[in-house]
């Protein structure tokens, strides 16, 4: 209960949480909320490229499908990609960073050099290469993003673990006979959890932007999937006449990413009182 109070006490976190909860609700209830739910797959070529109206709130696309309905269904794809890709990166990256930071020496060095390799080129470059090799589909986008994103978490956890390792409470736990595994999971992990949570929220935003960029380049789900990045690239040849076509998915991406960034910022303020004092 008190956790919710704190969360909604911070304005940025509250707005972010509100936007994300809305996104999740929209994704779940897309079939009920959509004005033309069938338009995800159906064409009405006689109604193509109509400007926004009472009938079609966000206008229609090149196939005459209702853009508003497609945006709602697109939220499902966006959430799926972001949650699985970021989740997988965390699951891979956190243990690696933890072990590397805890043992240091050559194990840690070797693990971090491995992550250096992945960090040496922009994430999107490797992701494009992987997605292109495997073929365009949502699953492959998720795979490409996970494979290229875990090093960020490994790095973060590595640095935090290194900073905690020499602390007295760790030494005390070890002196009491706690195993290495126990120290890592029960003593170090809880202390770096807030940093991981904050990064996860911001990482969701980053991942959504990267996934949309892959969709824009034609590497995401094939047509007629209502993926937001793909919708923007479809709209390109009809600009500037059909201004609404690209505006709707672009704004949808903006709002969702903004939600995750605000939540991340807010959580940072809440979870790290030192910074909080500085910024307020």
């Amino acid at each position: 209960m008190s956790a919710f109070k704190v969360l909604f006490g911070d304005r940025a976190a509250a707005i972010g949480a509100f936007l994300i909860i809305s996104l999740v609700l929209v994704a779940i209830f897309a079939p009920a909320l959509a004005t033309h739910p069938a338009d995800v797959a159906e064409f009405h070529l006689d109604k193509r490229l109509q400007a926004p109206s009472m009938e079609h709130w966000f206008g229609t696309d090149r196939m005459g499908s209702d853009i508003f309905s497609r945006i709602l269904f697109g939220a499902r794809i966006t959430i799926t990609i972001a949650v699985i890709a970021v989740g997988a990166s965390v699951v891979i990256g956190v243990p690696i960073g933890l072990v590397a930071g805890y043992y240091g020496k050559w194990i840690g060095g070797a693990m971090m050099r491995t992550s250096d390799v992945f960090l040496a080129v922009p994430q999107i470059v490797l992701a494009i290469a992987i997605a292109q090799t495997l073929g365009p589909s949502v699953e492959n986008v998720i795979l490409a993003l996970s494979v290229t994103y875990w090093p960020f978490w490994a790095r973060l956890v590595y640095a935090e673990t290194r900073a905690l390792k020499p602390q007295i409470f760790i030494e005390a736990a070890l002196a009491l006979g706690a195993s290495d595994l126990r120290v890592m999971v029960m003593h170090i992990l809880p202390n770096i959890a807030s940093a991981i949570i904050v990064r996860t929220s911001i990482g969701m935003g980053v991942t959504i932007l990267t996934a949309a960029a892959l969709g824009f380049l034609g590497l995401g789900a094939p047509a007629p999937t209502p993926e937001w990045g793909r919708m923007i690239s479809e709209a390109r040849e009809f600009l500037p006449a059909a201004w609404w076509y690209a505006a709707a998915p672009g704004l949808a991406i903006f709002v969702v990413v903004m939600g995750f960034n605000l939540l991340g910022d807010g959580l940072r303020d809440i979870l790290d009182p030192k910074i909080r004092r500085g910024s307020k």
Binding site: A120, Q132, F216, I232
Partner: protein, 334 residues
């Protein structure tokens, strides 16, 4: 001496990092067995011709031998030939590098000129209306999809208003090519018309790239300044009755901007990533467009060459940041 040590150890690590990167990209490229020999030979080639070409290119060898051959080639500066341009990849990359560097450097200059002062103002006038507006703007700047912004700007300023050119780096042939950097070349040739044209072409892509970079800088500068403002020594200087402006300029900014310098280095890397997509929208003849084209055509060696070059630039930029860091914050040498 310590400085030299840091530089050397970084340079030594450059080799295994780039080797690993080559391996990773090589593996990605070979996950699905495509047949480059078939593509190069063309549709009308007979099976025997394809086989011959495959042998010539070494594609009939096992993967580890192909990899060894590639690494050996790299040692002699040979990255292989592109499947499509049929030119040496190193040549392709070098001819496109200036376009991307020019774009990213202009973008980062714009970002610094806007982001750093805005961050300082935001921190000094904490919680004022200016601060609130700047904070909302910086959060928004990080949430915009670059390719979408690029398209919207292009639609509005180029297609609708016709103020800026639609795409490319310059209209016509441009000035005599000495460096490949059109701003420099225009100045060398003292060709003001080309210079103006270059800037007009640069405007939209550079602004698109600069926006998230500026937003990041505002946030980091603000946080950095705030941390210092609340430190004990600033409290002490204030208690000693030093003028506020002196404290701000001499004591706060110098210390606060250390983290901003690090951030600028990281941002430069992010700009290379952003350039991949933004270049695609503006048809900018740089590395990003080349990478996207190579990837779409499964031109594996070109992709590997691009990744290696970007990895190299990344590591060098980070090294430079570390070196600059040791000068503005001597504590890192201890």
């Amino acid at each position: 001496m310590r400085r030299l040590q840091i530089i050397l150890s970084r340079l030594v690590w450059l080799v295994p990092t780039l080797f690993g990167l080559t391996l990773v990209v090589f593996l990605i490229a070979n996950v699905v067995p495509t047949d480059p020999a078939r593509i190069i030979a063309g549709e009308n080639a007979t099976a025997a011709q394809v086989e011959e070409l495959r042998h010539e290119l070494g594609l009939d060898k096992p993967l580890h031998q192909q990899f060894g051959r590639y690494i050996y080639g790299l040692g002699t500066g040979d990255m292989g030939k592109s499947l499509y341009t049929a030119r040496p990849i190193s040549q392709d990359l070098l001819s496109r590098l200036p376009a991307t560097l020019e774009l990213t450097v202009v973008a980062i200059l714009i970002a610094i000129l806007i982001g750093v002062p805005a961050g300082v103002i935001s921190a000094i006038r904490r919680n004022s209306l200016t601060d609130q507006v700047l904070r909302v703007l910086s959060v928004s700047g990080l949430a915009v999809a670059g390719f979408w912004l690029a398209m919207e700007l292009q639609m509005f300023f180029s297609t609708k208003l016709g103020i800026t050119p639609l795409n490319g780096r310059i209209s016509g042939f441009g000035p005599e090519k000495y460096t490949g950097f059109l701003i420099v070349d225009s100045l060398l040739a003292w060709d003001m018309e080309s210079l103006r044209d270059t800037f007009m072409h640069l405007l939209l892509p550079a602004v698109t790239l600069a926006l998230p970079a500026a937003a990041t800088l505002v946030r980091f500068t603000r946080a950095g300044v705030l941390e210092v403002v609340n430190s004990n020594y600033v409290l002490y200087e204030s208690a000693m009755g030093m003028p506020r402006s002196l404290i701000t300029w001499k004591y706060i900014l110098r210390n606060a901007l250390v983290s901003t310098v690090t951030q600028i280095g990281l941002i430069f890397g992010a700009l290379f990533a952003g350039a991949v997509v933004v270049e695609a929208v503006f048809d900018w003849p740089g590395l990003g467009t080349y990478a996207v084209q190579s990837i779409m055509r499964s031109d594996n060696k070109a992709i590997m060459g691009f990744s290696l070059l970007v990895g190299f630039v990344f590591v060098i930029v980070n090294l430079m940041v570390d070196i600059v860091h040791t000068f503005i914050d001597p504590r890192t040498l201890e």
